[in-house]
């Protein structure tokens, strides 16, 4: 029993360590990009955006333990629904307000 427990614990720790490393790398990349200034501005912005998205996924996968398995289906559905709503709200706001700005310009 305790062996099994021990193995489980080790596996969990393993997951957290991978998550931590990925999170640090994904934070270091944009910081490094800005501090060293090696990239032109547009590609820098893309780099930051993509790193941020990956960061979100890493957090979900390794720290909140959301994956595609059946037992996490509810959580995954809620996250996807949240994404849909945020996309509607943010995308809609940008669309409407930029349209108004254009009409008044």
């Amino acid at each position: 029993m305790s062996d099994h427990h021990e193995a489980e614990r080790r596996q969990e720790l393993h997951g957290y360590v991978i998550g931590l490393i990925l999170a640090v790398v994904l934070s270091a990349l944009p910081f490094g990009g800005v501090m060293l200034g090696l990239l032109p501005k547009t590609s820098l912005l893309w780099l930051i955006a993509i790193a941020a998205l990956c960061q979100v996924i890493v957090h979900f996968r390794f720290f909140l333990h959301i994956d595609l398995s059946r037992s996490h289906r509810d959580d995954l559905q809620l996250i996807l629904f949240s994404l849909l709503i945020v996309a509607l709200m943010v995308g809609g706001t940008l669309w409407v307000l930029s349209n108004q700005r254009h009409m008044m310009g």
Binding site: D74, F81, S82, L84, I85, L88, M89, G92, T93, W95, V96, L97, N99, Q100, H102, M103, M104
Partner: protein
């Protein structure tokens, strides 16, 4: 003037600027005093404190929510009657209400009706019914529930205080800037509005989280999502709507507050402010809010129509999907509240079409309800009357909604009474009638006796008649071009319609009085109206399977569910109300004053911010957060109800049950009803 101790509060804040204001303030003060005297006369202070204010029992919190909502309903209806009276005499005549006071009236009427009547009413009903319906002992976070109630009540109290000290906002319930910015509204009114709304919307967000988690985590074993009663489904949808829709409101009002307090320029005319973003964010909240208000009524009607038709709900799955699609679509239509704000025709067309789409799932629902009634054994109870009135009137409102969804038409009638008639036509049948029928339907479960049936019918008649008389004429004057929120008008043709509307308003006032009489008569005759067995309507869902009023632990044993309407199936197979062989200890959350402390601290915080009394702002915030942090150190947060006590309690109830005779369906509305009804063959 600006004093350390009192901020900008001074003698001139007292309501002696007009006779009507003085009168209204005196009623609030006298009403509060009367309550204090009444409680003292009953020697009820201890009971009030330990059984109610500090209780975390979802049933009691639900009842307190409904009490808050009734108090606020009374005030807002009176305000409506005053406004209708003013308009009835306002043809080329300043009438008896000056413009600024009239603006306060329509602002408070709208704010109260949405945030402090409708929201507490539906949250209260869900609080009481939802855990019982899904077979849970309480909500997932009972203390948070009590804090939510505290925050909503603090907001309601702020509104009541604004009647006595200072003036309320004149910016309408939506509070559009730049008018509500400091340069155009320098008084405290808008600040009252901001803090009352912020307090209540934070409370509502927490309620949404609480309900959603309760439904996901605390359903009885075997109750899959698709075995939940439809009322619980609407609870799931509105709690998700609350989680996503309340934050934009909180953000919008807080940004407006930063403009007013910290000299920022989010929504000002100058320095890059964009007031259109306020309107955009307000309706990002506001449209889902419409469905937060209407879906609960859909849920109630789904329960009452099935129960009083004695038939399984027709098209359960289609009703669930219709509810879910309405919830999702509600996030795609917010722009129809500001078609005329200046975006191009394509944007308007997209949102217009999305709006019309919502009529489809709503139509599905109406057909499902009609088909549930078809060939059922219909009993014409008060909830059933409300449901029928709703179906007829709501279709009219829906039709005018589809008209308004057309931007071309909307350009013609926006800002007229046509719009006012439309949304009252949606919200009175689609929210208030639903909640009133829920009140009538679940009252015997909550208190152990039925409400007086005859007076219930009078209340119904007054509400429906009053609504029709008050709002159908407004469609006509709206189409004729009468602007909403007019304190005076100069077009003679409006006059007869406004007189009819005034008659309607008086009838609604009559409904309010009848409700008080109904409650009074029912309490007086509570022995004759008692339904101790707990199933007075031959119900279908779990809440009817336990005693009325329910014991604090709800279910002695959590039931196992294997189909929709499991309790009704059990009754059909004569398998209901079986005595369990073993009883077990039950762990329940114990009382805590933290909700009440948060209510007082939140109220002080809001009031002090309104009047710039900075020491009290800090004190209120410190006590609020301090109470929550202190609470987290308390490890003894539950108590045990011993199995022996439960056995005694349940056996007493089961004995009553065995001794009670089954009554016929036809005798349901007579005093023969003790809460046990025979299944019709």
């Amino acid at each position: 003037m600006r004093h350390f101790l009192l901020g900008s509060l001074g003698y001139d804040a007292l309501p002696f600027y007009s006779l009507i204001a003085t009168f209204a303030a005196s009623i609030v003060v006298l009403g509060a005093l009367a309550v204090l005297v009444f409680v003292t006369w009953l020697k009820g202070w201890r009971a009030l404190w330990s059984d109610w204010l500090t209780s975390v029992d979802h049933k009691k919190i639900g009842i307190m929510y409904v009490v808050v909502s009734f108090v606020m309903l009374a005030r807002a209806v009176v305000e409506a009657v005053v406004m209708r009276s003013q308009q009835a005499v306002a043809y080329q005549n300043p009438g008896f209400i000056p413009p600024e006071h009239f603006a306060q009236l329509f602002t408070t009427h709208g704010t109260i009706m949405i945030f402090f009547m409708a929201m507490p009413f539906l949250i209260g009903i869900y609080n009481f019914v939802l855990p019982l319906q899904i077979g849970a002992r309480d909500v997932s976070f009972p203390v948070m529930n009590s804090i939510s109630l505290g925050l909503t009540s603090a907001g309601a109290v702020l509104l009541m205080i604004s009647l006595c000290i200072g003036k309320f906002s004149t910016g309408g319930w939506t509070g559009y800037p730049p008018y509500t910015e400091l340069s155009f509204s320098p008084g405290v009114g808008v600040d009252y509005w901001i803090w009352a709304l912020t307090l209540s919307s934070v409370g509502n967000t927490m309620t949404g989280i609480n309900f959603a988690v309760t439904i996901y985590k605390k359903r009885a074993p075997g109750m899959t999502l698709f075995r939940m009663p439809l009322f619980a489904w609407t609870a799931l949808c509105i709690s998700i709507l609350m989680i996503f829709a309340m934050p934009p409101l909180t953000v919008a009002t807080l940004m407006l507050a930063m403009d007013r307090y910290l000299d920022m320029h989010f929504f000002t005319n100058e320095l890059g402010g964009n007031m259109m973003n306020y309107i955009n964010m307000f309706w990002l909240f506001g449209h889902p809010e419409v469905y937060i208000l209407i879906l609960p009524a859909f849920g109630v009607y789904s329960e009452t129509i099935a129960t009083f038709s004695n038939k399984r709900l027709y098209g359960y799955t289609s009703l669930v999907w219709a509810t879910v699609s309405i919830a999702v679509l509600s996030f795609t239509v917010w722009l129809h509240h500001f078609f005329t704000m200046g975006q191009d025709g394509n944007v308007n067309a997209v949102f217009g079409i999305a709006t019309m789409l919502i009529a489809i799932p709503t139509g599905v629902k109406v057909y499902d309800w009609l088909l549930t009634m078809a060939r059922g054994r219909i009993r014409v109870s008060v909830p059933m009357l409300y449901a029928c009135a709703f179906m007829m009137l709501f279709v009219v409102g829906g039709a005018t909604g589809v008209m308004l969804a057309n931007p071309g038409f909307d350009y013609q009638v926006h800002n007229t009474l046509f719009l006012v008639a439309h949304f009252h036509n949606m919200l009175i049948p689609g929210l208030l009638f639903g909640m009133l029928s829920a009140y009538h339907y679940w009252f015997p479960k909550a208190f152990g006796f039925r409400l007086h049936e005859g007076w219930g019918r009078i209340v119904f008649g007054c509400w429906v008649g009053g609504f029709i008389l008050a709002f159908m004429p407004l469609y006509i004057v709206g189409a004729l071009g009468m602007p909403r929120r007019s304190q005076e008008f100069f077009e003679a043709v409006y006059r007869p319609y406004l007189w009819v509307a005034l008659c309607g308003a008086f009838l609604v006032l009559g409904a309010l009085v009848s409700m008080v009489i109904q409650l009074w008569t029912s309490i007086k005759n509570r022995k004759a109206l008692a339904v101790p067995v707990g199933d007075p309507w031959n119900g279908r869902t779990l809440e009817w399977s336990i005693a009325a009023p329910p014991p604090e632990y709800n279910f002695a044993l959590i039931p196992k569910i294997d189909c929709v309407d499991a309790f009704h199936e059990a009754k059909k197979h004569r398998d209901a109300w079986r005595a369990p062989e073993h009883y077990f200890d039950i762990e329940l959350p114990s009382n805590t004053p933290v909700g009440f402390v948060c209510c007082v601290a939140g109220g002080v915080f809001g009031f002090a911010l309104t009047w710039h009394i900075w020491w009290a702002v800090i004190l209120g915030a410190a006590v609020f957060f301090g109470a929550i942090i202190l609470r987290s150190f308390n490890r003894n947060t539950t108590y045990i109800v011993p199995a022996s006590e439960i056995r005694e309690n349940e056996e007493r109830w089961l004995l009553t049950l065995r001794e009670t005779a089954f009554i016929d369906n036809d005798a349901m509305f007579t005093t023969a009803n003790n809460g046990l009804v025979k299944e019709p063959i």
